[in-house]
Symmetry: C2
Subunit: 419 residues, 2 copies
């Protein structure tokens, strides 16, 4: 990838220096005790009457409850806030455990925490579930106050900008006017890009991983397949299934299966499963055996697990928001859209990501360069495809870039204010 005025060698020395410099200037926090280490999901209710959110569709909508989690401490200068945007099926639970008995920590626990890539000893980290989601923020499965029933298909059509506006209002509610950085991968990266276009003077840096300025047509195609699977499930009942005993699990599981393939790479699937069989060394010669190969068993398992935690209407709404995302559209072209922002950019792609290939990041970098923005970019080598930014073993590579990048950013912003 073309990175104006940077090659990776030069970059790493720069960042190393910046990191050493900034270690003295950042607030240090004591390590939390085990109880303090537990994270609480909090809620804020915004856009209450008579101040609804005006959606991109023109429709007015409110009130909106937002589920969010915070990590670390906001500095007295309120200058160390980092907002994390989650991907399609993520949630506010980005790191840590909510209960001591939780088997698994948050979805980016390897990257967000004390001393980690996004160091919660230094930064005040906020992560919130998106509008239209199903993990605490108002979405299709929430109760419609007008009817006392879940919204279902009556939930309004939402876009990435609507999600961003809700999170912007959350930060205002938390007393944060400017954020040091907005960080996100995939659909989260789209939100990051929308943030800097929509709130050009309130974001210090935009960190965009495995994402792009729009979903390409192949991505739209796969999303269309997923939604078709949900719509064809008789138990979906046009989205009015909440009162029913049986949830539309087959369609949603199928949608997840096909999406999951696009998150992996040919290489990683081949490495992890190849043509190995699940339970035997002998082929069964049985057409009804759906989980004979390990890759089949894995996908079926992923589908099954997914329906336990996700809502079919949310899946439909969020994938469509992803399809609609086109950063250039609001301003006619990408360069113009990105002209106003004061943010600097860190763009990361992965060699084997074919859902958001490096060409998408390159397009973004070219536009940012044309708009005379400060942009750092890198293509990380990984066999794990689109999911690489979430995979534990791949996080050190990301951390090696992000940690010094944030440290320098924080140091420079602090220096700017001091002068």
């Amino acid at each position: 990838m073309d990175s104006p005025g940077n090659d990776s060698g030069e970059l790493s020395i720069d960042l190393q220096t910046a990191l050493l410099m900034s270690l003295d200037t950042l607030p240090s926090q004591p390590l939390p005790s085990p109880e303090e280490g537990l994270v609480e999901r909090q809620f804020a209710t915004l856009f209450e009457p008579p101040h609804p959110l005006v959606l991109e569709s023109g429709e007015e909508f409110g009130p909106i409850t937002v589920a969010y989690q915070t990590y670390g401490t906001l500095s007295p200068q309120r200058d160390n806030a980092i907002f994390i945007c989650h991907a399609l099926t993520g949630d506010s639970h980005v790191a840590g455990r909510r209960r001591p008995e939780d088997r698994k920590p948050g979805w980016w626990d390897g990257f967000v925490g004390p001393g980690k890539g996004i160091d919660t000893d230094r930064y005040f980290v906020v992560c919130a579930n998106v509008l239209g989601g199903c993990q605490g923020t108002t979405g299709p499965s929430s109760i419609n106050p007008a009817t006392g029933e879940p919204f279902g298909p009556d939930f309004p059509f939402i876009t990435i900008s609507d999600m961003v506006n809700v999170h912007h209002a959350l930060l205002a509610h938390l007393g944060i006017d400017k954020v040091l950085a907005i960080v996100g991968g995939s659909l989260g990266g789209m939100q990051v890009l929308d943030w800097v276009v929509r709130y050009p003077k309130q974001v210090g840096a935009a960190l965009v991983f495995a994402s792009g300025a729009r979903l390409n047509a192949q991505g739209i195609a796969f999303n269309a397949v997923g939604r078709r699977a949900i719509f064809m499930d008789p138990l979906f009942r046009d989205g009015r299934f909440y009162g029913e005993q049986e949830k539309p699990r087959f369609g949603l599981a199928l949608a997840r299966m096909v999406a999951h393939i696009t998150y992996l790479s040919e290489q990683s699937i081949e490495m992890k499963f190849g043509r190995r069989l699940q339970h035997s060394n002998e082929l069964a010669f049985d057409l009804r055996k759906e989980t004979e190969f390990q890759i089949e068993s894995y996908l079926h398992y992923q589908g099954k697990r997914f329906v336990e935690r996700f809502d079919a209407n949310s899946y439909v709404a969020l994938t469509r928001a992803m399809d609609y995302f086109n950063l250039a559209q609001s301003h006619g072209d990408l360069v113009t859209a990105l002209t106003e922002t004061l943010a600097r950019f860190l763009i990361v792609s992965y060699t084997t990501d074919w859902l958001f290939p490096t060409s998408q990041s390159s397009e973004l970098v070219r536009a940012l360069s044309a708009a005379r923005k400060h942009v750092t970019c890198t293509e990380l080598d990984s066999p794990y495809g689109h999911d690489a930014f979430l995979i534990e073993s791949e996080l050190p590579k990301l951390e090696a870039i992000v940690r010094p990048y944030l440290a320098r950013l924080y140091h420079e912003r602090a220096a700017q204010k001091a002068t």
Copy 2:
């Protein structure tokens, strides 16, 4: 791709020379009149009692009707026969028209015919529908003589080898002991490879396009998604839907939609559709509008058209046969499997094919080289992904290789016999 002892420059001169040489030696045919130009689908019934086909599963099965079409004239020496293996959803109707009013000719009409890539003025071309298919050869939708009803789920489990054994029997029935060449792309290419392993001394050349010695795990994954879609369709009724008014069209259409994405490339989808809308310049903000983007409309149309011509049980059976294909398995490894054959090989892959990427062809070429076979290989540059071998505008590239290749082959085999 590594081609032992050949680079493309050397190859093209060689083949050009061979072509000129062979023009004199090949039998010339008069051009057919318009009526003669019509192709007739013929049928042969094989494996009649007491000689059933022993399937790879061990089960015995018969009788088997085979639908086939022939083009050109078998030479008195019976040395100019070329057998074409069709891909997953193809059929025996490889070229020409069956009725004067047919809107479209056969599926490879741009490549097979008088003066074309496979020149029916020179060669006797046979193409037959596969066992388990639904275009005339015995398959799940055929009548089970034991019950008088369609087989449905009682149709036996079949493999690529079973298909090949049936076609081998068809050629024997037509009085053809040795074929000049077997040609096929994708699933057709798998059949070609199985042919040379199974009948090592009866094939002059194996022409394998956009295929490989096995389906990779990603391919198995996409097939699993397609079958899941069919199985979850309530109208599929475990495969016993033939007597019903409503066919399981939703599941089969969905299977086709996802498969169709894998036949294209990111590049071709972007070129052909991009993010363009189907009917408007304005976004609809309507979740139930499934065909808003052109790519969606295209995939839905492909799904709809497909169910008019294909059987859901056949789709399940043939995709599973594809999953099971593993040329190395019967002999322990690929080199050993390929050791015995007398055939020479032409292996063609396409730059943007990600279902059977060039790495798959390379693996095959390495094994063939290790087995000391005569192998010619090339990666053709095309934006059209896996489907490139079927796309009209891409056929001249294939023809430029195949036509002289076959001409030299025929010339050399004739010369061998003369000495």
